[in-house]
């Protein structure tokens, strides 16, 4: 390995190949990650808890197993971390909230258990918006995660620590959750890849719920390939999750090198071109990405979708109703124990009527049908993700809002898989991105298109210069 190739720059596949060849140990990889966390996390606050002893024990076990020829799959020996809403046996799981600060689960949730069974090394638990909804808050037991490209800026959320940890090279992959964009928005703000799989593809059991019918679990990763390899470990039917789909698990990496020749891309430019707050740089980024994909052989067709405000209203009504139902007792009796933003965003659920929710659920079916119609004759929809680069922390108002500056919630409503991919950087040096939305259970197609774009765009060659910031 050359000096130009530090361990954290190895992809999951590259590190895995060296682990299997015996030229690298999981212990070395894990110690390198722990050192990097110790050096960088004081600036980023990505980790709420570093599970050092557990990580070194996991790594030692992986080394012994791999040496003995036991191969548990693509994440065997690979360090990772979990958003702190993923329950972990014997390890504090706080949801970044005062209400859960002493909560130590007795069992792993399904995704955490699958990662452990696959030999992955758990480095720790990551910052989130409180209960995956609050926002960048300074009134919680832990500080908010910061953006590695500029720590004065928001990293997105709610999977804020997951994105900050991946972008800064502390981990190659971290698990997040996405109810209205909470994987894809931080992926966009931090310049990494994030996959919201199809609803039901990855079990939600043991992940603290925000909104039962909108919650999705998935990976944030440095590259499309790393996300695909993670999916191989975490996907699959879970009879203990009532939303889990009993469908075959494909080879998520099988099509990554196939290119995009002949694939049909729907481009709903009118869906986002004139929305409030959209940055011209974001529009230029997604336009460039679409042009690049066309040059690579994809057939692009501009299409129209129903007004984004309909998706947003429908999604927010359902999300707020379900979140209020999850938290009803605590919101009513212990409101002051929540951070300001989470409280203000969930408590409005109290004013919704049964008819409000049913009308939203009727609209949800109509909106699903609209997306499904588009995808009857096209392979994917390509559209914007976050509308602008990440705001500075001091640009946030003190009170909560139900509006978030992104076009992500439509695909939580419809359940379609959606992949966030970076499209480069704004003039202020902060990342921007887009998303690729596929047919239900066709994650290999969205990953294939993401990989093709990534290979020409080459954004994964650039890392935040955190060491310089720390020195400065």
């Amino acid at each position: 390995m050359s000096a130009k190739e530090p361990l954290h720059e190895l992809s999951i596949a590259e590190a895995g190949a060296r682990l299997r060849a015996g030229t690298l140990t999981s212990t070395a990889l894990t110690r390198h990650a722990l050192d990097r966390i110790a050096a960088l996390d004081p600036l980023l606050n990505a980790f709420l808890l570093v599970t050092r002893e557990r990580a070194l024990a996991d790594a030692d076990r992986a080394d012994r197993e791999l040496k003995a020829g036991v191969d548990k799959g693509p994440l065997h020996g690979i360090p990772h971390a979990l958003k702190d809403i993923y329950e972990t046996a014997g390890i504090r799981t706080t949801c970044h909230s005062k209400l859960m600060v002493d909560h130590v689960p007795q069992a792993d949730g399904t995704a955490a258990a699958k990662l452990a069974a696959g030999g992955a090394v758990l480095l720790g638990k990551l910052a989130t918006h409180e209960f995956a909804i609050g926002g960048p808050s300074f009134d919680l037991p832990f500080p908010p995660a910061r953006n590695p490209w500029n720590p004065d800026h928001f990293p997105g959320g709610s999977s804020s620590g997951s994105a900050a940890a991946v972008a800064s090279g502390m981990v190659r992959m971290a698990m997040g959750s996405d109810t209205g964009g909470s994987i894809r928005s931080p992926a966009a703000y931090c310049g990494i890849v994030g996959l919201k799989p199809t609803y039901g593809r990855v079990s939600r059991r043991g992940v603290f719920p925000l909104s039962y019918t909108l919650d999705h679990c998935g990976p944030l990763a440095w590259s499309v390939e790393d996300a695909a390899l993670t999916m191989q470990v975490i996907a699959g039917h879970d009879p203990l999750d009532p939303a889990s789909a009993d469908v075959p698990v494909p080879d998520f990496s099988a099509e990554l090198d196939r290119g995009v020749g002949g694939l049909k891309l729907a481009y709903p430019r009118s869906f986002f071109i004139s929305v409030d707050g959209i940055s011209p740089e974001v529009i230029a980024g997604v336009d460039r990405a679409v042009q690049d994909l066309a040059r690579l052989g994809a057939k692009v067709e501009e299409i129209t979708l129903p007004d984004f405000e309909l998706f947003n209203a429908c999604g927010r009504v359902i999300l707020t109703a379900e979140a209020y139902a999850v938290h009803e007792e605590n919101l009513n009796k212990r409101g002051a124990d929540y951070g300001r933003l989470a409280y203000q965003r969930m408590m409005p659920g109290a004013i919704l009527s049964a008819a409000d929710l049913i009308q939203a659920l009727r609209m949800r079916r109509e909106l699903y049908a609209a997306i499904a119609r588009v995808l009857e004759t096209r392979d994917v929809i390509v559209t914007v993700n976050a509308l602008a680069p990440a705001l500075r922390f001091d640009a946030f108002p003190p009170d909560g809002t139900l509006r978030t500056p992104g076009h992500t919630i439509p695909f939580n409503l419809t359940g379609h898989p959606a992949l966030a991919v970076p499209t480069g950087f704004a003039k202020n040096g902060l990342p921007i991105g887009f998303q690729i939305v596929g047919r239900p259970f066709e994650e290999p197609t969205v990953l294939r298109i993401g990989a093709a774009y990534e290979s020409v765009a080459q954004w994964t060659t650039k890392r935040p210069q955190l060491e310089l910031k720390m020195a400065g």
């Binding site: 300001r340 203000q344 409005p348 004013i351 009727r362 909560g400």
Partner: protein, 69 residues
């Protein structure tokens, strides 16, 4: 939302929270009512005219006991 509508919303919120016994921290209430106002605007959008046959997304079908789901 006009000032009058905002006052009415706040009164409605106060009545609802009193009925359910919710304790609303005073320093958070103004921001909370702002969020309620946003939600009320969104709620208006989902109440579009629809045929009675347009069913919600969460209707379900039962399978015989023992059948694979």
């Amino acid at each position: 939302m006009s000032t009058e509508e905002r006052r009415a919303l706040e009164a409605e919120f106060d009545a609802l929270t009193a009925r359910i016994g919710a304790i609303v921290p005073a320093d958070r209430k103004a921001g909370l009512i702002n969020c309620c106002e946003e939600l009320r605007r969104m709620t208006a959008l989902v109440h579009g005219p629809r045929s009675p046959a347009v069913e919600p997304a969460n209707v379900y079908s039962l399978k015989p006991t023992g059948a694979r789901s």
